[in-house]
């Protein structure tokens, strides 16, 4: 689960109650204390829950990453050993390369979503609701079920995709079992399942563009295509920036699809494409809960946190070059 504040939220933020004290019928001082107590009481359940299940765990994970866990419980302080091990571990290197590759490929889904959102955004387009529903269907479907369906489509011997290819005389590979194609096959499923989500965000962005801009462009003699490139795209760039942030953060955390397509533990290693499929979070799960190497697993997710922070920071840096705020 990830979240980034959109520019739209700034507007809601301005609608916040002014810091003017609400009038109380009774004594001012007592009303104020009572209100504060109610305030604390209302936030207490979630506040305590977040402290116990989220805030404290982050600190603990950071601490665990500096320890080594014994098989029979108990952990010993090892300083930065886990991090040194991490830097030298070829499996971590591969997982990083795969995760970054998957993330880069996933960005190809953004232009695709913009094009389909533009097609759907035409006024009075028939069946727009039906199309939108079909695009959105994979977003709500259980990722495990989605991965099962695609694994079967990708099957080298009995899969529908290779059957289709054979009709035009192409001998298809074993997609997710072939090291050459595995990552691309995985990324294709990622793009397919995220398309509807990105499309909805872009549709909302397009609908926020004032009609007058298009009317003015039309008066200037701009055709559909020119309007798309000169009006829609520049005004959509803040939305595209937002989608790219969310999509990168999501891709870096990929787990479900890989877990089903590649598996985990010794059995999964039988797949020759396994080294091309393993992602950072999948490796984390494997180390933490399959091989019970929790200190090392903690170091892996701390690395993930740094990676997400760095990638987000880079994107914020780059936005000046391509994002136009109206």
């Amino acid at each position: 689960m990830t979240l980034t504040t959109r520019s739209g939220d700034a507007r809601a933020e301005r609608g916040a109650p002014p810091d003017r004290k609400p009038r109380h019928p009774g004594g001012r001082g007592r009303g104020r204390v009572a209100e504060a107590l109610w305030g604390y009481a209302f936030i207490a359940p979630t506040g305590i829950g977040l402290a116990v299940f989220h805030l404290w765990p982050v600190l603990q994970t950071a601490y665990f990453s500096l320890t080594e866990w014994g098989y029979f419980g108990g952990h010993t302080w090892t300083g930065l050993d886990n991090y040194a091990r991490l830097l030298a571990d070829p499996e971590v290197g591969r997982a990083l390369v795969n995760t970054l590759g998957y993330t880069a490929l996933g960005l190809a889904g953004i232009p695709l979503a913009i094009v389909f959102a533009a097609l759907l955004n035409q006024r009075g387009l028939r069946g727009a609701g039906v199309y939108r529903t079909l695009f959105f269907l994979p977003v709500v479907t259980m990722p495990v079920a989605v991965a099962m369906a695609w694994r079967w489509l990708y099957n080298g011997d009995y899969g529908l995709i290779n059957h289709g290819l054979s009709l035009v005389g192409v001998d298809g590979p074993h997609w997710v079992a072939d090291p050459a194609t595995a990552l691309y096959a995985l990324a294709a499923v990622g793009i397919w399942s995220g398309l509807g989500y990105n499309l909805i965000i872009f549709l909302a962005g397009m609908q926020a563009i004032p009609r007058e801009y298009y009317e003015a462009a039309e008066i200037d003699g701009a055709g559909r295509i020119t309007q798309f490139f000169r009006v829609t795209l520049p005004l959509l760039s803040p939305t595209a920036f937002f989608v790219s942030i969310i999509s990168v953060i999501g891709s870096l955390q990929l787990f479900d699809l890989v877990y089903v397509m590649a598996g985990s533990g010794p059995a999964a290693r039988a797949n020759p494409a396994f080294p091309r499929l393993q992602t950072v979070v999948q490796l984390f799960y494997d180390r933490a809960f399959v091989t019970n190497d929790r200190g090392y697993a903690a170091a892996i997710v701390v690395m993930l946190l740094l990676l997400i922070t760095a990638m987000t920071a880079v994107q914020f840096r780059l936005q000046r070059r391509w994002v136009h705020y109206a």
């Binding site: 609400p22 107590l37 359940p45 479907t141 369906a149 787990f255 979070v281």
Partner: protein, 272 residues
């Protein structure tokens, strides 16, 4: 007239894309109605074989009934609990004044920036020490507290008119009464949007259920289905039947509550 031609081109592109979107589902349905030998025939047949008993056989492959019930209870428990608790905190942050409000809200928001995988090992340790592994509460309790829920609902509460609240206050209503009888009913669209999102994420969640509940009878559907992957011989038609039934409830809710799903996502830009 180039207008109709442009329209036609748009429809062709959209229909082609729609086919790509639905083919995996259609193929899943067709496969779920085949025998194993029918499903592995080369070249594949595009027609189903009417093997409805595959839908019964998933109960042999997995404790499917248990897993379905676990998933329903987890999703329902998390949704009701999280919406209730988040709405309380959101109301306080939006409408009540107390020292440290801004700071506390900042702390809540900071939780949103952390990838959830950082919580998993310590949360697992908590469950272990409470003796909660392989229980329903392990699936539900950590999912009750959500900075996101507080953030989303606070935005809704901020947008509500103050007049009704002021009137109630003059009539002597306290914060609890205002929250329950005025704010919650007014915030219904926000509560529904949060509910559908929590329901969706809970139903589809994999990593946490996989970690805490390893006893097949205590697993959720996503973990149960995923656990079949490692097995040597997988009966794909039955697996497809199970996958379809596992996804169906959320798809059904989506079809009925499309607007809320889409608004929830479009307004918050959040994805599970």
């Amino acid at each position: 007239m180039r207008e109709p031609r442009a329209r036609l081109g748009a429809h062709v592109a959209l229909i082609a894309a729609s086919l790509v979107m639905v083919t995996p589902f259609a193929w899943q349905i067709v496969t779920s109605l085949k025998t194993l030998s029918g499903a592995t025939r080369v070249p594949p047949s595009l027609l189903p074989e009417g093997r409805w008993e595959n839908y019964g056989r998933m109960f042999e492959l997995l404790p499917f009934g248990h897993q379905f019930l676990n998933t329903v209870l987890m999703a329902a428990g998390r949704t009701v609990g999280q919406v209730l608790l988040s709405s309380m905190a959101a109301y306080a942050f939006a409408r009540l004044r107390f020292p440290g409000r801004g700071l506390l809200f900042g702390v809540f928001l900071s939780v949103l920036m952390v990838p959830p995988q950082l919580f998993v090992i310590p949360q697992y340790e908590i469950m272990l020490s409470l003796g909660w592994l392989n229980t329903l509460q392990a699936l539900i309790v950590p999912g009750l507290f959500s900075a996101f829920g507080v953030f989303l609902l606070r935005q809704f509460f901020l947008g509500l008119p103050r007049e009704l609240e002021e009137a109630a206050r003059l009539d002597g209503a306290g914060p609890l009464r205002i929250y329950w009888s005025i704010m919650l009913p007014l915030a219904r669209p926000g509560l529904v949007a949060l509910s559908v999102l929590v329901l969706l994420w809970s139903w589809n969640d994999l990593l946490w259920p996989l970690v805490v509940n390893t006893d097949p009878e205590r697993m959720t559907l996503s973990a149960g289905l995923a656990s079949l992957q490692g097995q040597f011989r997988t009966d794909y038609p039955v697996l497809m039947a199970g996958s379809l039934v596992a996804s169906l409830p959320v798809i059904a809710v989506f079809v009925f509550l499309q607007r809320q799903f889409i608004q929830g996502i479009a307004h918050t830009g959040i994805k599970g």
